[in-house]
């Protein structure tokens, strides 16, 4: 199946738009003006992404080369189904998150908000850049840009714990990307002579099995944002960031960029065939499964809500990797779909955590006894979100998990099926206490007794929206599902 | 080129150089450096490099020694090696 | 008067220097001679107040004439003294024969240039070295032995004094 290629500057514009507003954000002295710039950029970006959707759904690919850096390699954009899927998620969630940040930041009266919004915009640009990148170099470029742009966001509080976490964050992310991903990329480039993402990967025929395995593992661990097990501990640490940051970046942008990169590399560079012929997928699956199980177990023992969510994220991300590792059409569809589904679910959860913190200043689950009565909307949204993450209807997560399960069955990996089901159970186990606490227990000190006192409206509205979308996706997953199927088709097709 | 003279002067030059770096007094070192340049001037002349000899004579005798002595004058003559 | 003096000292030094230039140069084409003129002019302009403070054109000529008469005698003296010192240095019992000592006397020469000439003549004569000379003619002379010292101030002073017209 040959793909029709359309030349268009749109992907570049989509990346650029949030960078362009930064000067305006910096210059704006007025708070409202500043934030409206953010919104304008977000909207434009979303519309730009959306305008490309029909073309992509028609199976076309949009390409644009910005600058040719190396003779046969440059900064180039290429919009295909998978990238579109991710871009759609990220750009839509940016708008929502902007609304949420507005409420969160203002209600907590955080400092340096200008810096916050500026780097937020940079981070989004980078995310879209990763989504649309046409080759590994561009991907790497935006990946690094994202790592650096999120550093000030993670360490926004500029206190001792932020400093330690920031250090950890950089150590893992930069260490991984410079120490492992970069050399892997260069070695690949040396042997294959190209870094463009191809449907069947570029390694086939150029690289022997041992090197392919080493390179795959280097990529897997090098893109440390995906949080595969030994490289995961930055994620819980990064939870010191303000909640919108955690929400967008650690449910959507950063970690998903990691997952996206890994998927892109495995499908576009290493190639599904190479993974299969050299039996690399088994190893990847094993690593991912271990991460899933261990992360879920750890999550059980966490009392702080955001940390629990963080470990949950680690586990959920590995589903994506696992989905790719399955190499079956359904598995891959599920993996890709999980990027979207999990994003909507998890962001809701984070929003809720932030809303709770905003309204009551509470971080730990054990203190949330009876909070459901005080914040019914928030906690309902929380319920929907967690259903989605666990993979139960009517959450969108059910769809992706379904495909994953189907994938395991398709490829006959019964052990992995067991892992999937078991971990789902574990997921349920660590979310259940939260609403059990919230709705059915009551605090001895009766702190939350019958007082409806939700978080500010700017916080509540977004989380309602995301919860809603999460639910809608269960009933109408077509846009994402079609995109994921298209992507898988282009990988497996032909 | 006059090899007989050349050989004799070479020996003297080397002796002078070694003495200049081994003498235990900086003023003496400066003066020996002057003597060293005198001998070098001869050496150049022997090898037919008249212009070089001229330059060496003027620089070595007229200027470098004076500079060295001035510097020693403003610092110290003491040295341990 | 000052300007006059300067002018004449300029002319004198110019002429002397031009003589030297000709000797140095040995080229008599127009180009080199004119170069020489320029050079001499520059140098005389630069040094005229230094080397010839109070020019007396005729005096200088007489002085030089006398001076040239003095030189052969001086050289003869030097030669004699040289052989003397030579014999000292080369004699096996040198340490007995030498007797270094410093002698002091006052010269009757008052002219500065005369004093310098005298002192340098003493130094040039082996066996005696002028150690110190004051502006008033007090000399201390280091002599290597009694014989060398014996001649001082003696005839030499007479002759130098005669050159400078004293």
């Amino acid at each position: 199946m040959t793909m029709e290629t359309v030349l268009s500057v749109k992907p570049f514009l989509a990346v650029l738009v949030s960078l362009v507003v930064i000067p305006f954000i910096v210059v704006s002295r007025n708070q409202n003006l500043r934030e409206s710039w953010t919104f304008i950029a977000g909207t434009i970006k979303f519309l730009l992404v959306l305008s490309m959707l029909p073309l992509v759904l028609k199976g076309k690919v949009i390409e644009y080369t910005v600058v040719q850096i190396f003779p046969d390699l440059g900064i180039a954009f290429r919009v295909d189904a998978f990238g579109m899927l991710f871009a759609l998620v990220a750009s839509s969630l940016w708008i929502v998150t902007s609304i949420y940040s507005l409420g969160y930041m203002r209600s907590l009266d955080e400092h340096s908000q200008t810096r916050y919004y500026s780097f937020f915009a940079v981070a989004l640009s980078a995310t879209i850049g990763v989504a649309f990148s046409a080759n590994l170099l561009t991907l790497y470029l935006f990946y690094e840009m994202l790592s650096l742009a999120t550093y000030p966001l993670v360490t926004h509080h500029q206190d001792r714990s932020a400093r330690t976490s920031g250090r950890k964050y950089l150590f893992y992310i930069l260490g991984g990307s410079i120490g492992l991903a970069l050399p892997a990329m260069l070695i690949t480039y040396h042997f294959t002579g190209t870094l463009d993402f191809a449907a069947h990967g570029v390694m086939a025929g150029h690289i022997n099995s041992g090197l392919a395995l080493v390179l795959s593992l280097m990529f897997l661990f090098g893109f440390a944002k995906v949080g595969i097990m030994p490289m995961h501990s930055w994620l819980p640490a990064a939870m010191v960031a303000p909640t919108p940051v955690s929400a967008l970046l650690h449910a959507v942008a950063v970690v998903k960029v990691g997952a996206f990169s890994v998927v892109r590399v495995f499908t576009g560079i290493v190639g599904v065939d190479t993974l299969a012929t050299f039996h690399i997928n088994g190893i990847i699956c094993a690593i991912a499964s271990i991460t899933v199980v261990v992360a879920s177990l750890i999550a059980l023992s966490q009392d702080e809500l955001k940390r629990r969510l963080a470990f949950s994220t680690i586990g959920q991300l590995s589903y994506i990797v696992l989905g790719i590792g399955l190499l079956s059409a359904s598995g891959m569809t599920g993996g890709m779909l999980h990027i979207a589904m999990h994003a909507f679910g998890k962001i809701t959860l984070f929003f809720c955590a932030g809303a709770i913190f905003c309204a009551t200043g509470i971080k730990n689950i054990s203190q949330m006894k009876g909070i459901g009565r005080q914040m019914p909307i928030t906690m309902t949204a929380f319920l929907i979100g967690s259903l989605s993450v666990v993979g139960l209807p009517p959450g969108g997560g059910f769809i992706s998990k379904w495909y994953l399960v189907m994938g395991t069955i398709e490829s006959g990996q019964m052990l992995l099926l067991l892992v999937l089901l078991g971990s789902s159970f574990l997921n349920a186990a660590y979310f259940f206490p939260v609403f059990y606490n919230a709705f059915f227990l009551s605090d001895p000190e009766m702190t939350f007794e019958n007082r409806v006192e939700e978080a500010p409206i700017w916080c509540v509205v977004p989380l309602t929206i995301t919860a809603g979308i999460s639910m809608v996706l269960f009933f109408y997953p077509q846009p994402f599902l079609n995109l994921a199927k298209l992507a898988v088709q282009s990988i497996n097709g032909g | 080129m006059i090899w007989q003279l050349d050989l004799i002067i070479l020996v003297l030059v080397i002796v002078c150089a070694i003495a200049a770096i081994n003498v235990k007094d900086l003023l003496s070192a400066a003066i020996l450096l002057g003597a060293y340049s005198f001998l070098l001037c001869l050496l150049w002349a022997i090898m037919g490099a008249v212009d070089v000899a001229f330059t060496e004579a003027t620089v070595g005798a007229g200027v470098s020694t004076v500079f060295c002595v001035s510097a020693v004058f403003h610092t110290t003559r003491r040295t341990t090696d | 008067m000052k300007v006059q003096q300067r002018k004449s000292s300029f002319v004198i030094s110019f002429l002397i220097l031009l003589l030297f230039w000709v000797v140095f140069s040995g080229r008599f084409d127009l180009f080199h001679i004119s170069l020489g003129m320029v050079s001499c002019a520059i140098v005389s302009w630069f040094v005229s107040d230094l080397s010839i403070p109070n020019p007396r054109p005729m005096g200088i000529l007489r002085l030089w004439y006398n001076f040239f008469l003095y030189i052969p005698w001086l050289i003869w003296q030097i030669l004699l003294a040289n052989f003397h010192v030579m014999s000292l240095v080369l004699s096996p019992n040198m340490m007995e024969r030498i007797d270094p000592h410093i002698l002091r006397f006052r010269s009757r020469i008052r002219d500065e240039l005369g004093l310098v000439t005298f002192a340098n003549s003493i130094t040039l004569t082996p066996g005696t070295i002028t150690v110190h000379i004051s502006a008033y003619g007090d000399l201390s002379v280091h002599a290597i032995d009694k014989d060398s010292a014996a001649a001082l101030p003696g005839e030499m002073e007479e002759r130098v004094a005669r050159i400078f017209g004293e």
């Binding site: - | 770096i21 212009d51 070089v52 620089v59 470098s64 500079f67 110290t76 040295t79 090696d81 | -």
Partner: protein, 142 residues
């Protein structure tokens, strides 16, 4: 070629090596800064010796053209010239190029010497000594 011939026929090269090593030794191993500067001077002149030796030419005269005819019996260092003709022949004159280069090198040498001495004076003003180990001690103490 026996040892002595080698020794004598290339004496200039051996001498340059010795001088160079003497200078280098002084620059590396001596403790006193002015000594090092002296060593540096020697080091540089060693190269000059090397270059001038390159330029040397057996039986040639200094690189200034002769005006008149060659005097009878004048000069034993350029035997070749005597049976040469009036025409300027390269073989009769010493190679002038190394001399030119070395003029430059001498100039550079004296310039470097001046700057080095200026620095030495500054060092002395700062530390009151020119001995490197004493300076280092002083630096370590405070």
């Amino acid at each position: 070629m026996d040892f002595l011939t080698v020794l004598i026929s290339r004496a200039n090269y051996w001498a340059y090596i010795i001088l160079m090593m003497v200078g280098l030794y002084a620059m590396i191993a001596k403790n006193n800064l002015v000594k090092k500067i002296v060593g540096m001077s020697i080091f540089q002149t060693a190269v000059i010796l090397f270059y001038v030796s390159i330029g040397a030419k057996q039986g040639a005269t200094i690189p200034i053209l002769r005006h008149g005819p060659v005097p009878e019996g004048g000069g034993i260092a350029h035997a070749a010239l005597r049976h040469g003709t009036d025409a300027v022949q390269a073989v009769n004159y010493i190679n002038p190029l190394p001399h030119v280069l070395m003029l430059t090198a001498i100039v550079v040498g004296v310039a470097t010497l001046g700057v080095a001495l200026a620095l030495a004076i500054k060092v002395y003003k700062e530390y009151g000594t020119l001995e490197e180990n004493e300076i280092n001690q002083r630096l370590r103490r405070g």
